[in-house]
C-alpha cells in the first residue's frame, strides 16, 4: 500500500503541461477524471483541427464561466445596497472606514504614524501600530487608482464595494486552487459554490467593510500558491506565495491558521513518505521570507518569532532540513554505507531536535499562558474558554455551533463534503492531501467556534466542487455512452473487457498521481509539439475506457436530476440568506407591519445632530458599542470605543452609568464629558439597547470599582425595571437617561422590549438635561449641566429661581456670571 516516494520519479518526465491542457479541454463539461496516459503517449498521430478547436472553445468557455461567477459573487452581495442603501454596516466597519478616510486624505506616512486623540479620551490610541493595515491599504489604493483615472468615487463608495469585489477575486482564487488539485471542472464548480456560500456572504455583503472581506481571498490565494509551488517546484511561485502570505498577515489575525496548516501538511507529507524537493521549495522560502515579511507589519512585529502560534512552523522547518539532509546522504552513498550513516545522522538529528524542542518548551513554559493566546488555546482545548476566560466565552461569535448553524452557513455542501474527501483519496496526491487536511482542521475549528465557519466555507466549497464535478462526470458519461444513438456505433463487450479496464484504470490512477505531483515545466516550444502529439491518442483511449465504467442509463438520469435539484436548493437557500438574513446594515433598521414598511434611521439622525450642534472638541460618553460610530459619523471625541483595549476605562464609564446621577455627573465631569448618549429601544421594541446591555456595564464596572455590586441591581436574582426593581436600579443614571419623560409617550410608560410598565415613571434630572431625542426615541442625548456656583447665597437664589424657570432660562441666568 505504500505509495512510492515521489522523489524517485525522474523530474525530467515529459508529459505534464500537455495534460493540463487536456484537462481543460475535457473538463469543461465532464471534469476531473482526466488523467494523463503515459503508455499511449508515444504513438504520435497528426492532430486534427477539431481537437484544437475544442481546446480553444473549452478555454473560452471556462473564461466566460469564470467571468459570470465573478459577476454572481459580486451581485449576490448587493442586496444590502438595493434593500437599504449604499452605507457602511455595523460597528467595526465604521472604524475601518474612518481609517481609510484618514489614509486617503493624509497619505500613507501619516497613517503609519497616526495617533488618534479623538478616542479613548484622554488616553488616545496609536492607530498605525495597532491595526491590520491590509484592508485599509487595499481600499485606499483602489480609491487612489480610480481617482487617478478620473473616476471620482467617494471613499465611502469604495469601502462599501470592496468586500463584493474581493468575493469575486476569492471565487477566482478558489478556481485556481481547485484546478491545481482536481482539474478545471472541479475548479469551476467550486468557484461557483464559493461565490454564493452563505457563510462567506455573511461577512462580505456590500457595506460590510471588515478585515475578513479581503482576508478570505488572501487565504485561498496563499493556499493556491502553495499548492502551485508544490506541484511545479518553482521558486517563482514560492516567492509569490510568501508575498501572498504577507498580504494575509497584513489583513487578518487569522493568518496563524495558514502558518500552522502549511507546516502540518509538510509534516504529514514527510511522515507518510512523500518528501520531495518540491516540498522543500514550497515550504522553506515561505517560512523564511514569510516570517521576515510578517515581522514588518507593526501589529505583528516580533510576535512573528516569539509567540507559540508560530513555533510549529519553525519546528517543521528544522525537521524538513533534517529530512532533506537524510535524503541527500542517501542519494550519494551506497545502500550499505547509508545504513551505517543513517544511525549517525538520525542520532545527531534527534539530538539537535531534542535540544531545540527543549529550548522551545522552556521558552513557552516561561510565559504565563504558555505562549498561546487565549483564543488559540480555546481552539485546542474546547473547554478552556468556558472555564477560564469568561470574556471570550461570552462573545456570541465564539460559541460552539449546533448542527443548524452548519445547515445555515454551508447548506447542502455539508452533504457533499464526505464525497469530496473520498474523491481526494482516490488517488491521493500532495495537493489533494492538503485539501483534506484543510477541511479536517477547519471543520474541527468551526466546531469549537462558530466564527471560524468562515474558514471552513472555502474548504467545504472546494471539496463539494470536487465531489459534484466527479458525480456529474460519472453520470453524464453514463448517459452519453448509453444513449441509443451512440450505442449503435460503439458496441463493446462490457463483460469481457472489464478485467482489462480495471488494470488500465489502476495504472491511470498511478500515473495520474505522478502527473499531478510532478508538473515540471518544459520549454514552451516543446510543449506545443508534445501537446499535439499527446492529445489524440489519450483522448481516444480514455473514451474507450470510460465507456466501460458506466452506470445504468435511467438511474443516472434520475441521479443527475437529483443533483441538479440539490444544487437548485443551494442556490435558493443562498439567495434567501443573502437577501433576508445577512444584509441588514444594523445602522438603519426596517420593520414590516400591516401598514407597510417602517424605516428607523435614528442613529444617523443622532450622529448628525451631534456633528451639527456641538463643538468640535466636545467629548461624548456612551457605552463602548457606539464609540466607532460616534467618531466616524459625528466626528466627536469619545471616551471608549469598540477596540476594548483598556478595561479600566470601560469600567469607569460602566460605573458612571450604574451610579446615581450626582456620582455619575462627577465621573463624567472629571473626564471632560459634555454629552452623554444612550440607546433606548423601549418605544419601538429595539432589543439591543443599553438597558439590555446594562448588566454588562454593572459587571465590568464592578470588576474594577467594587462599590458597584451586581446584586444591588437584581431583585431575587432577576433583572427587572418594573415596580419590583431595586431602588439602586431605579436611581442609576442609565435608568434615568433611558426612561426620562418616557411616560409622556403613551401615558403608561410601557416598555416594548421588556414587555412591562416601568417602575419609576415621574422623575426629574438634576445634573443632566435632555438636549436631543431622535424620532423614534432610539437615541437620546443629554448634556451635563454646568457646575453650580459655590457661593451659598447665590446658590440659594439660583435654586429658587430655577424652580420657577425653565432650563433654558436657567442657563441664561448662569451666563450672567462672567466667569462661566
Amino acid at each position: 500500500m505504500t505509495p512510492p516516494p515521489s522523489f524517485c520519479i525522474s523530474p525530467k518526465s515529459s508529459l505534464p503541461q500537455s495534460t493540463q491542457a487536456n484537462h481543460l479541454n475535457r473538463n469543461v463539461n465532464w471534469p476531473s477524471m482526466a488523467a494523463p496516459e503515459t503508455s499511449t503517449a508515444i504513438a504520435a498521430t497528426p492532430t486534427t483541427n477539431g481537437t484544437t478547436l475544442r481546446h480553444a472553445f473549452g478555454n473560452v468557455l471556462s473564461f466566460f464561466i469564470l467571468l459570470l461567477i465573478g459577476v454572481l459573487a459580486f451581485s449576490i452581495r448587493l442586496f444590502s445596497v438595493i434593500k437599504y442603501e449604499s452605507i457602511i454596516h455595523e460597528f467595526d466597519p465604521y472604524f475601518n472606514y474612518r481609517v481609510t478616510q484618514f489614509l486617503s486624505k493624509n497619505g500613507i506616512y501619516e497613517f503609519w504614524n497616526w495617533f488618534d486623540d479623538r478616542t479613548w479620551y484622554p488616553l488616545g490610541r496609536v492607530i498605525g501600530g495597532t491595526v491590520y493595515p491590509g484592508l485599509t491599504l487595499t481600499a485606499g489604493t483602489i480609491w487612489w487608482l480610480l481617482n487617478s483615472l478620473n473616476i471620482p468615487l467617494s471613499v465611502e463608495t469604495v469601502c462599501v464595494f470592496t468586500a463584493p469585489i474581493f468575493s469575486a477575486f476569492a471565487s477566482w482564487a478558489t478556481y485556481l486552487l481547485t484546478k491545481e488539485v482536481k482539474g478545471p471542472g472541479a475548479g469551476l464548480t467550486a468557484a461557483a459554490l464559493l461565490a454564493m456560500v452563505p457563510s462567506y456572504i455573511s461577512r462580505s455583503v456590500a457595506g460590510s467593510y471588515d478585515n475578513e472581506a479581503v482576508a478570505i481571498f488572501a487565504l485561498i490565494f496563499t493556499f493556491y500558491l502553495y499548492i502551485k509551488t508544490l506541484n511545479t517546484g518553482s521558486l517563482f511561485y514560492a516567492t509569490l506565495n510568501a508575498l501572498a502570505y504577507f498580504y494575509m498577515v497584513c489583513s487578518w489575525g487569522g493568518y496563524t491558521f495558514i502558518i500552522n496548516l502549511i507546516p502540518m501538511h509538510v509534516l504529514l507529507c514527510i511522515v507518510t513518505g512523500r518528501y520531495s524537493p518540491r516540498l522543500y521549495i514550497a515550504y522553506a522560502p515561505l517560512v523564511v521570507l514569510g516570517t521576515v515579511l510578517a515581522a514588518l507589519v507593526p501589529v505583528v512585529g516580533f510576535n512573528a518569532v516569539m509567540t507559540s502560534e508560530h513555533f510549529a512552523s519553525f519546528l517543521v522547518f528544522i525537521v524538513i532540513h533534517v529530512v532533506a539532509f537524510v535524503y541527500y546522504i542517501k542519494g550519494i552513498l551506497s545502500p550499505k554505507m547509508f545504513k551505517m550513516a543513517v544511525t549517525l545522522v538520525v542520532s545527531v538529528g534527534l539530538v539537535v531536535c531534542c535540544a531545540v524542542i527543549a529550548v522551545l518548551v522552556a521558552l513557552v513554559a516561561s510565559s504565563p499562558t504558555k505562549g498561546w493566546s487565549g483564543r488559540s488555546l480555546s481552539l485546542l482545548d474546547p473547554t478552556y474558554a468556558s472555564k477560564y476566560i469568561p470574556i471570550i466565552a461570552s462573545v456570541s461569535e465564539h460559541q460552539p455551533p449546533t448542527w443548524p448553524s452548519y445547515f445555515m452557513d454551508i447548506n447542502v455542501l455539508a452533504f457533499l463534503v464526505p464525497a469530496g474527501i473520498i474523491a481526494c483519496f482516490s488517488p491521493l496526491s500532495d495537493a489533494s492531501s492538503f485539501v483534506v487536511l484543510y477541511i479536517v482542521t477547519s471543520v474541527y475549528f468551526s466546531g469549537v467556534m462558530v466564527r471560524l465557519m468562515l474558514v471552513l466555507a472555502p474548504a467545504a466549497c472546494i471539496l463539494s466542487g470536487i465531489a459534484l464535478s466527479q458525480a456529474f462526470d460519472v453520470f453524464t458519461r453514463s448517459i452519453k455512452f448509453q444513449l441509443p444513438s451512440l450505442t449503435m456505433n460503439s458496441e463493446v463487450d462490457e463483460q469481457g473487457s472489464n478485467p482489462v479496464t480495471v488494470e488500465g484504470q489502476t495504472e491511470v490512477t498511478k500515473t495520474d498521481k505522478s502527473g499531478v505531483t510532478l508538473k515540471e515545466r518544459p520549454s514552451r516550444k516543446n510543449k506545443k509539439k508534445e501537446k499535439e502529439q499527446l492529445e489524440k491518442p489519450s483522448v481516444k483511449s480514455k473514451a474507450e475506457k470510460k465507456r466501460l465504467l458506466v452506470l445504468p442509463l435511467e438511474a443516472s438520469v434520475i441521479a443527475l436530476l437529483l443533483l441538479v435539484l440539490l444544487g437548485g436548493f443551494y442556490v435558493v437557500h443562498c439567495v434567501w440568506a443573502a437577501a433576508e438574513a445577512y444584509s441588514a446594515p444594523s445602522i438603519v433598521l426596517t420593520s414590516h407591519s400591516h401598514d407597510g414598511l417602517h424605516v428607523f434611521d435614528d442613529f444617523r439622525e443622532a450622529y448628525a445632530w451631534l456633528s451639527h450642534n456641538t463643538d468640535v472638541d466636545d467629548k461624548v460618553a456612551s457605552w463602548w458599542d457606539y464609540g466607532y460610530q460616534t467618531t466616524a459619523m459625528a466626528n466627536r471625541t469619545v471616551i471608549v470605543d469598540n477596540n476594548t483595549w483598556n478595561n479600566t476605562h470601560i469600567a469607569t464609564v460602566g460605573t458612571a452609568m450604574s451610579s446615581p446621577e450626582k456620582a455619575a455627573w462627577e465621573i463624567f465631569n472629571s473626564l471632560d464629558v459634555k454629552y452623554v448618549l444612550v440607546v433606548f429601544g423601549g418605544l419601538v421594541g429595539y432589543p439591543s439597547d443599553d438597558i439590555n446591555k446594562f448588566l454588562w456595564m454593572v459587571r465590568i464596572g464592578g470588576g474594577v470599582f467594587p462599590h458597584i455590586k451586581e446584586p444591588d441591581y437584581l431583585r431575587d436574582g432577576q433583572y427587572r425595571i418594573d415596580s419590583q426593581a431595586t431602588p439602586t436600579m431605579l436611581n442609576c443614571l442609565m435608568y434615568k437617561l433611558s426612561y426620562y419623560r418616557f411616560v409622556e409617550t403613551d401615558g403608561k410608560a410601557f416598555d416594548r422590549v421588556r414587555r412591562t410598565e416601568i417602575g419609576k415613571k415621574y422623575f426629574k434630572l438634576s445634573h443632566f438635561e435632555e438636549v436631543f431625542t431622535t424620532h423614534h426615541w432610539m437615541v437620546r442625548i443629554y448634556k451635563l449641566k454646568p457646575q453650580k456656583n459655590r457661593i451659598r447665597g447665590k446658590m440659594k437664589k439660583s435654586k429658587s429661581k430655577s424652580k420657577s424657570t425653565s432650563s433654558s432660562k436657567r442657563s441664561g441666568t448662569l451666563k450672567k456670571n462672567p466667569w462661566q
Partner: protein
Amino acid sequence: MAIFPAKLHLHLLLASFNIVSVFLLTAGSESESVLVNDLLALQSQSTSGVIHLDDSTVSRFLASTTAPRPYSLLIFFDAAQLHDKTELRLKELRKEFGLLASSFIENNNRSTKLFFCDIEFRESQSSFHLFGVKSFPHIGLVGEAARSMKDDSEQMDQSYFSLMAESMAEFVEARTKLTVGTIHRPPIFSKQQLTVIVPILLIWSQFMFKKIFTRETLLLDPKAWLAGAVFVYFFSVSGAMHNIIRNMPMFLVDRNDPSKLIFFYQGSGIQLGAEGFFIGFLYTVVGLLLAFVTHFLVWVKDTTVKRVAMIFVMLVSFWAVNKVISLDNWKTGYVVHAFWPSKWN
C-alpha cells in the same frame, strides 16, 4: 458605725459577683476550646478534611454558640438526589471543595480558624431552612461574628465556582483574611500507575520506532487517514464540540410525561447529544453514498446490482436531505423561499 458593715457587704457582694462572672467566663472559653477540639477531631476523621454536619452538630457548633466564635465555617450545601443533574455540577464542585479543604489544612498546619463542612439536604432539612438555602449550588461562609445564620452568612457568588478550587480559595482569602496557599491537586497518574505505564510506553516505543522506520504503520495507509478524516468531519458537523463544552445530555426526559424521552430540542441555540449525532450521520451518509456510487459502483459488473444499489442510494439520500431540511425548518423556524419575478404572482 452601722455604715461600715453595709459597705463591707456591698464589697463582698461585688467580689463574689466578680468571682462568679470570672468562673462563668472561663467556663465559656473552656467550652469553646472543647468545640474547637471536637471540630479538629471530626476534621481528622474525614479523608479530605471536610466535616460532615447534620442538624444536631449545626446547632452545637453554630446555632447554640454566641458570636464572636473563635472559628469560621465554610459550608457546602449538598443534595445527594441532585447529583445526577449534570448542569448543577454538584459532584464536581464537592470534589473541588474537598481539594480546597485538604490544601488549606495542609498549607496552614491544622489551623483552628477555619473549618470546612458539608451538609446533606435529606439528612438535615432544618439546617437548610436555618440558612435559607433556596438553590444549588450553594456554598456559605459563617464568619466568626455571624449571629444569624440566614442574614450574616455570606454566600459564595456563582463566579467563584467557575474556576474551581483556585477561585474558591480567592473567596476564602478575601472574606476571612486567611491565606489558603497553593491547591494541591493529585497527579493524573499515581506513582504506582506510573511505574507500570512508563516501562510499557518505553517498550512499546521501541516497536513503534521500528515500525516507523520499516514503514509498516497505519500512518502510511490512506484508508486509515480517510476514515479519520471522515470521522472528524462527522464529529464536528454533529455539533459534538457544543455538547462537550456545554455538557449537553444525550436526551431529556419529558417533564409532563416521564415515560417519554425528548431527542430533539426546538430552538437553534441548543441541541441535544443524540440529535446532533443523528443529523451528523445524515450529513455524512449522503456524501459517503455518493462517493460509493461514483467510485465503487462503477466497477461492479452486474447491471441489476448497479441499478438496485443506485435506487437504494438515491432513496436514502433523498430521504436524508429531506429530513435535514424539514428538521432545520422546524428547529430554527426559518422559512427559506425563492424570489420569483413579481409578474409571476
